[in-house]
Structures are given as C-alpha cells and as structure tokens.
Symmetry: C2
Subunit: 378 residues, 2 copies
Amino acid sequence: MAAPQGLRATEARVWIARTPGLSAAALAAALARAGGDAAAVTALPQAALAECGLADAAIAHLGRPDPDRIAADRAWLEADPARGLVLFGETAYPPLLAAIPDPPPALWLHGEATLLAAPQIAIVGSRNPTPGGRENAAAFARALVGAGLAVTSGLALGIDGAAHRGALAAGGATVAVCGTGLDRVYPASHRELAREIARRGLLVSEFPPGTPPRPHHFPRRNRIIAGLALGTLVVEAAARSGSLITARLAAEQGREVFAVPGSIHNPLARGCHALIRQGAKLVEEAADILEELGPLWAAAAAPQPPAADRPGTPTGRDPAYARLLAALADGPAGIDLLVERTGLTPEEVSSMLLVLELEGQVSSAPGGLYARRHGQEA
Amino acid sequence: MAAPQGLRATEARVWIARTPGLSAAALAAALARAGGDAAAVTALPQAALAECGLADAAIAHLGRPDPDRIAADRAWLEADPARGLVLFGETAYPPLLAAIPDPPPALWLHGEATLLAAPQIAIVGSRNPTPGGRENAAAFARALVGAGLAVTSGLALGIDGAAHRGALAAGGATVAVCGTGLDRVYPASHRELAREIARRGLLVSEFPPGTPPRPHHFPRRNRIIAGLALGTLVVEAAARSGSLITARLAAEQGREVFAVPGSIHNPLARGCHALIRQGAKLVEEAADILEELGPLWAAAAAPQPPAADRPGTPTGRDPAYARLLAALADGPAGIDLLVERTGLTPEEVSSMLLVLELEGQVSSAPGGLYARRHGQEA
C-alpha cells in the first residue's frame, strides 16, 4: 500500500512503538484500517486514527516523526541481528500475551525471538530472599527447563536472578522482562546476567531504548511476565510485595498461580501463604507444576497427529522412553514408583511423562497417577 | 423400672461399658427400650436386645456378668472421685462426639469431667517432630488455651506431648484421649504428664481399665480426638502418617482441619502440605484458627440473650474490653491495628474479640477485620 506522506516500514514501526499512550486495541484497529501495513498507519488521516481510538497526543506523535530519534532506534536495532521489535497484531507477537486485558502495543527484543512463543513458567519473588529461597528458585528453574519450559522473570535481584541463573545453568531457555529500555540494565549488578540472557535467552521490554528505570514501570513489567507465561510461581515473598501483584495479575489473566510454602517463622513465606489461602497451588517440587500445566501446555501446543501415526517419533526409539512405558504396563503408577522401576530421576520421569502425554501415549489420572492410553501397548 | 434379674446401676454401667462389639446406636436403642435405666438394660430379654441391634456376643456378655471383673472396675472408679464413666445417651456424653458416625458407647474418664463438653481444638502430629515443630505445637496450644479453648490430643510422644504441655504451661485445659485403659499410660515416659493431666485436665479412653496398647487402638482413639474437637490442627506430619488419619476423620465428621506449612525440604511438612492441598486451612498463627472457629464456637455455645439485655456482663465492666471497644469506634479494624491502639497482646485481642463476638457486640468481616455491631455504641 502506498503511503506518500508516511515513513518507510522500519522507521514507521519504531515510531509507532514510541507512541505515547497507545493501546494495543487502538494499534490493532489502525493496522487493520491500514491493511496491516505499519508504514500506512503513519499516513492515515487524523480523523481515521481518532476513529481507531487513538488519543490526540498519539495522533500528534504519529504526525510529527522525529528523524533523529528514529535513526537512533534503527541504529540500536541494526547493531545486532539478535535485536528486534514486534508490534501487537504482527505474527511474532506471543498469543498468550495478546490475550491479557492490556497487552503492550510493542515489544523490544534482544536474543532468541522465538522464545516469545515458547511455553513459559514465570518464577518471581523477593529481591531479598533467604539463601534457601534463592536455592529453591534456582532448583525449580533447573527442573522446569529440564521439562522443556522456558523460565520467565524480571531480571531483578534475588529470586528473579536466581531463577534466570538456574535456567541458564541447566542449559535451558530464560526470558527476562525488563522495566527499562534494553540498552540499559537495571539493576546494574545484573549487567553480566543480562548479557548472558541476550546471548542464550531473550530480553524483552515494552519500553523503547533509552528508557530509564522508573517505579511505575515495574508493575507494568509484571503484567508482561505473568502474561507471557502459562503460570506464575512465587518462591519467597513478603506480605504486600510486588511478587503478589504479579501473582494477582496472573490469576486475573486466568493463568495458574503456584506458591512455595515455608516456615511460619519466615516472614518471606507470608506472601506465599497468603496466595495459597487465596487458591494458589501449593508446590513442593517441579512435578506439582508440570502436573497442573500439562493440559494447558497441551492446549497451547499446536495440534499434532496421534502417536500411532508417528512410529518414528524420538520417544519411540529412545530406550529410556521404552523403559518408562514398560514400567506403566502393569497399570497406572505414580512418579515415585516409576522412578523406582526405571532408575531415572524424578525430573527425568516428569519431563518424559509430559512428552508422552503430549504425544497421546500416556494420560494423567487423579492422585498423581499416570497410565498408558488404551490401544498403546508396547 | 424393676430389674429383678439385672445388676445394680454402677455394676450394670461398667459391665455394659465392657460389652464386646457394642455400637453406640445399639446401646442407645437398648437404653431407650429400658427407659433410660442402665440396670434395666442388663435385664432385657435376649430377643429385645437383638431387636435393638446387639450382636449375639454382646447379648451373651450382658447375660453373663463377671462379678470379679465388675468389682475391679468399680474399685478403679471409686479409688478416686475424679474417675468416672459416661455411656452414650447419658447427659454427660459430649454432644460433638455423639454426632460422629461411630461414637464410642462408653468413655472412661479421669480428671475434670466437665471438660468433655468444653470447646476444644485438637492438636496432633508426628511422634518424631523437629525441634521447631515441637515449639510450634506448644506455642499454638498456649495461644489457643489463652483464647478459652481446651487442647485435645493423644498423649503420644512428640507433637501430642508438646501440645498437652503447652496448654498446661499456660494454665489452660487439656484433654488426652488414650489408646489404653486409664490405669495404664502409653508411652510409659508420659506417666508424669498423664498424672498432671488427670490433676488439671482430663484423661479419656473408650477402653476399660486393664486394656494394653494395641496398634489398632490408635486409629480408633484418633476418631475420638477429632470427634471431641471443633477442629483439628496438624503441626508436623509425614506423608501417610496417623495424624493424617485424624485429620481425615475430622473432615469426614464435618469439622475444621488446620495445617501448619513448613519448608519444602522438611519431610514432616509433607503431610501438612498434602492436607492444605486437600482443602485444610493453612495457619500461621492461632488467630487464623480462632477466626475460622468463631462461628462454630458460637453455634456450639448455649444460646444467650443479646448483650444489650445484659448490661452487667463481665466485658461491660472490664476496662480492657472498654479499651478494645473504643478502639473499634472509628470503624472496622484488624488485629494488628487493635494491638497498636490498645497496647494489648495479639493473643489477648484475639481472645477478647471472640468473647465480644459471642456476646454479639462485635462481628468479623472478610479480610480479618472486626467491627462494632450496629446499635452497640459505647
């Protein structure tokens, strides 16, 4: 579509991403009006933009592009092929995030962009955890990436950092949602961690390059953390803390909320206990989360042909999977028993059961039991 | 009612209490048939007893009294005025226990018999708790007797003993339900504790004097612990432990179940976590229990005239209560705020709020708030 008064595509997209007060809904309407062409959005008449729900300030912004600012954003994007920008309505925009009440109109990215759509578990908690809380965050992250989930958090000190590091240490994927532009790192002490996440995971921000940390950015960031993930795990949190906001947002978004209990004498268990009283699932180990996410995860995954049609699936040739399926031949069994029968670790068994569930070879029953699906004899 | 072939009252009651396989329902039917007279029950024709639901062995037992055994039981009862025997259907039989599916037909008592009908909280848990679990049991017991509840447990090692001792240390009432006859103490190391409970609390058993400890006695004892109490608090318990049986029985009896969470690395928190997942209330402090029991307790208490009709109630003249009511004059407040405003301890405030609730002067609102009742201005 021609856009005589408009910008070229990349210029238009970075300028749109900087539009003050732009909602995803208004952007979607404007993109629809412009035939899906970002450059054409900047060429729409003011009246058309107003009809799409853009406020006066947003319309004025689109009509007055700042070439220096645009050049600087382009330069940031083009300095590294791992950098990117996704607008709401574009195919790379993560569907789970698009489903929240107030999705961000733009996401700036640095790292492995495909992780945006990967099944994710958010792990959040106190910036000043106990050593035990820090270890729990890292251990849950390790186990959950082992099961194939990406671990999403907020790059903060404490539980966030431990979760990101635990995921990386296990060779897994991790997504850090930032409260600043991605040319900045907050807190500064996480500079090295942010660099590692950009290299092996993904940094995400709704704030354009150059945006400094501001207190009101962090609750906004929290909605993105919760919105990207199938569920949110709170590891240690004081009563009335930011992690509880993330958990509340997750619950409001219809996502699962998980909380790790602790001693009644640990003030940082109070927030988790409050969540459990409000209906969060009490978790002692990663399997508790996987058990709950199994059906959601299956629903989030693309539809696949039944396992019987895929004799060459990796699980069909892997001796460990054969052992696990044989261990289920006598009837339904729990993870403990399967660990005993197969010699695999609980984490391996959990992860493999999830894969088999997704393949339709195994189904989970109440009470933490797993069973071979009818007609799937070894 | 004349009972020419029967025994005298006390003899009849102890012999009835020893009837093998006697259910409370059959005893109630037989007592009703005998006009409420225990001696007349032993004189009922065999056919009448069979119609009441007594099995052959029970009927044979009633027809063949053993004078030596009866004399020995009488001697045990009469050796101490604090000893007693209550049959199902008699007025001293505790109403809450009578409401369970399989109430014991007889209760042997040693101590303050009126405690049978006192509002009670059961505190149970592992026989091998952590030091922290032991301290928690004692601390909850102290706080709960401070609020006017009796603490009921099973005289076992570990959490049971800590709960009994905590209640006694705070000058409160405690009820120990035993799995042996009351002339025996199990475990033997609790001999001194049992003596103290007989002196200042109450020992209860459905097993007649001389009964040794047997493994199958303890699950039976557990149903009495749960049945006497408004609710059961589990402090530390392994997965698949006897305390979970008590909690399950409490839930089946429609009573409240409370559980103390702990570190996910403490194997003795596993049982409590399992209970919380199944719907038990997670408790961090005694106030969490009192908040839940308030309405039940009020329902269990005898109906009373409204506070407005009782200007001379103790609370009306007590300066501490006046202070607490004044602290509520500005509108609803939580316990923390009331502690700050009155200078009373949280335990005192909780206990006093319960009394005021029972008097109809205060009502509890969602979110742990308390409010003056309309028309109850100071």
